[in-house]
């Protein structure tokens, strides 16, 4: 029983972080319909910012959220405005150029970090990095639990934004039907880059939250991008709630898969779920909810 509960806890806590990573991407995919294959790399850049602040100025990761999130927001704005939007206007045979641009951007981000920081593994060890508290026999990692709570806060904030503010409503409108939104007076181009910024800012937060318990090197982005789109597909594109479900589901699936099938199957489980959902539940969890 202990093993089951411990696995459950592991999966849930990891899932919270995954959810934050996924929400960012699902927002982008829902509003713009493009796959951002540089998503994980944005997270990586945020982690390097956090690392630098910690290593050179002693700033605690949770505090550095104030810096890393806006920084990556700005980076996202820039990328969307300067590199991606122009492509939407260009006359090409394939609309997939935008996706490829994100691949190029991802490469540049990775290599720039490698150039500056080298491939050396970096880590941020804080006093609480390995702290745990126990409920009975089950161990809870303190930083991951805090991350989980922050994830909830961020999601709530995002909901407030989407539902209560004008800008948020414009974002949702554009996600639902871009042409209708434009007819209603929404500046869809501006919305696209703000959305890209927000999506990136969210994954930046996830990175900052993750770094006390993981480590950092330039190539860390790829696996997270892959997890992000598994989560998006699970939850349904554009659905924040869906991303939460998706993140938690993926976290649990990986944890239980690792325990009961074996760790070598961890990635394949995620991929299989992904394919199954693509095939049999297109639209993801969103279909089952309204948001």
């Amino acid at each position: 029983m202990d093993l089951f509960l411990q696995t459950l806890v592991s999966g849930l806590l990891k899932g919270g972080l995954y959810a934050v990573i996924g929400i960012g991407m699902t927002l982008i995919m829902g509003v713009m319909g493009i796959i951002n294959l540089a998503h994980g790399q944005m997270m990586m850049v945020s982690m390097y910012i956090t690392y630098s602040l910690f290593a050179y100025a002693g700033v605690d990761p949770y505090v550095s959220l104030i810096v890393s999130v806006p920084a990556i927001f700005a980076l996202g704005l820039f990328i969307q405005q300067r590199l991606l939007n122009p492509l939407m206007r260009a006359d090409t045979i394939l609309p997939e150029n935008q996706v490829l641009m994100t691949v190029g951007v991802g490469m540049v981000l990775t290599e720039t970090m490698r150039f500056i920081f080298t491939s050396d593994y970096k880590s941020v060890r804080t006093a609480y990095s390995s702290s745990t508290f126990f409920l009975g026999n089950i161990s809870f990692s303190v930083p991951l639990t805090i991350d989980f709570l922050i994830a909830i806060l961020l999601t709530a904030a995002l909901f407030m934004f989407l539902i209560k503010t004008d800008l948020g409503r414009s974002v949702r409108a554009t996600a639902q039907d871009k042409e209708a939104a434009v007819l209603m007076g929404v500046d869809s181009e501006r919305i696209t880059y703000i959305t890209f910024g927000i999506g990136s800012a969210l994954v930046a937060a996830a990175g900052t939250l993750l770094i006390p318990v993981f480590y950092l090197y330039p190539d860390i982005g790829g696996p997270f991008t892959r997890k992000a789109f598994v989560i998006c597909i699970l939850g349904g594109l554009g659905s924040a709630v869906g991303a939460i479900f998706g993140g938690v589901t993926l976290g649990l699936a990986e944890a239980f898969g690792a325990t009961y099938a074996g760790m070598e199957f961890e990635d394949i489980i995620g991929l299989t779920i992904f394919l199954l959902v693509l095939l049999f539940l297109p639209g993801g969890f969103k279909r089952l909810t309204k948001v």
Binding site: L87, L94, P95, E96, V99, L100, V105, V108, L271
Partner: protein
């Protein structure tokens, strides 16, 4: 299309030039690069058939490449056959994989399709890694090359590259070509006109998979060593195939061929900081800036390459061949505004 005379002469002379190069140039390093470039001509053209002409942008072509490579390698270590049989069976196995691949992916469109191909690519990579008893996992498959000289490999690669372009041209000239284009332009309209889009998409995929699988088998024979990480690589194979197609020119016959040469030579040029020219120039002119420049270039070669990719996609989204006019205008080799 282009007039018979000019176009065919150019093509034949290009082929002749390529055929003669190894006899004139006795430089194995150079031949190595050319063999790689020719291999990418095959892979890029195959991808282009599916994406540029049929509108199905696959992010998972490494699935076929790896299947072809492993078929060739496993024939050797499990049954003792020569790896050259892989050129035949690699293609066949890749087509076999293409069936479930298409079945899963073709019911999806656009972004979903791309993601599904990516996922399948990753699944195959993981399977190759985990199924150690069959594929030897991450230890990989090592075989000895049949020839020590590079010449045979060069000519085989050249033959494959030429045949793949010929095959693709034939396919495009036939009825199939029309169906592919109609699917690319508007799949629903085509379907409503009675075109069995699923069938033709599968045909396009099968041809692309077959060519890519054969390229993979060639890779196994030539390199002598493969492992899941290398031949099922998302970045180095699947995305490289896309880049080759895009840089060269999607939806053009020779675009991928041009793209293949550009990408291979560019990558190596960045990696060696101008093939050692900059360093040599530095030694010759004794300018320290050049030495440090060449060192920085080597250190950041991947970065330089990435920046190049971003710039090409941003400013030349139709590739070198597709945006030839734009390129010539920019280089001031042609007055702006003239048509092709």
């Amino acid at each position: 299309m282009t007039t018979m005379g000019k176009g065919t002469i150019a093509q034949i002379s290009a082929l002749a030039a390529l055929a003669v190069i190894p006899l004139a140039v006795h430089n194995d390093y150079y031949l190595h690069l050319m063999i790689l470039a020719l291999m990418w001509v095959v892979i890029g053209s195959a991808w282009n058939l599916l994406a540029g002409y049929t509108g199905q942008v696959s992010f998972g072509d490494a699935a076929f490449f790896g299947t072809g490579a492993y078929t060739a390698g496993l024939l050797v270590i499990h049954w003792g056959w020569s790896a050259w049989w892989g050129l035949l069976f690699g293609g066949i196995m890749a087509v076999a994989i293409a069936f479930p691949f298409g079945w899963i992916c073709f019911r999806l469109r656009g972004a979903y399709f791309a993601l599904a191909t990516l996922a399948l690519n990753e699944v195959l990579r993981h399977v190759a890694t985990i199924w150690e008893s069959f594929t030897q996992g991450m230890v990989g498959v090592m075989i000895m090359q049949t020839y020590i000289s590079k010449l045979p490999y060069y000519y085989i690669a050249l033959a494959l590259a030429a045949s793949s372009i010929i095959i693709i041209r034939l396919v495009l000239r036939s009825r199939l070509g029309y169906y592919f284009l109609s699917i690319r332009e508007d799949q629903d309209a085509a379907e409503s006109l009675g075109v069995n889009t699923h069938f033709y998409k599968m045909v396009s995929l099968a041809v692309a998979a077959w060519l890519t699988g054969v390229a993979g088998a060639l890779y196994m024979n030539y390199m002598g060593f493969i492992d899941p990480h290398v031949v099922f690589s998302l970045h180095d194979i699947s995305i490289m195939a896309i880049l080759v197609g895009i840089v060269g020119g999607v939806g053009t016959t020779y675009g991928p061929a041009v793209g293949a040469f550009i990408m291979v030579l560019m990558q190596e040029m960045f990696r060696t900081a101008g093939f050692g020219y900059i360093k040599a120039a530095a030694k010759f002119t004794d300018v320290p800036f050049l030495i440090s420049a060449s060192e920085q270039l080597t250190k950041g070669h991947a970065l330089g390459f990435g920046i190049l990719v971003v710039l090409v996609i941003r400013y030349m989204p139709n590739g070198v061949v597709g945006d030839w006019g734009k390129l010539m205008t920019a280089l001031r080799l042609r007055k702006a505004g003239t048509t092709k």
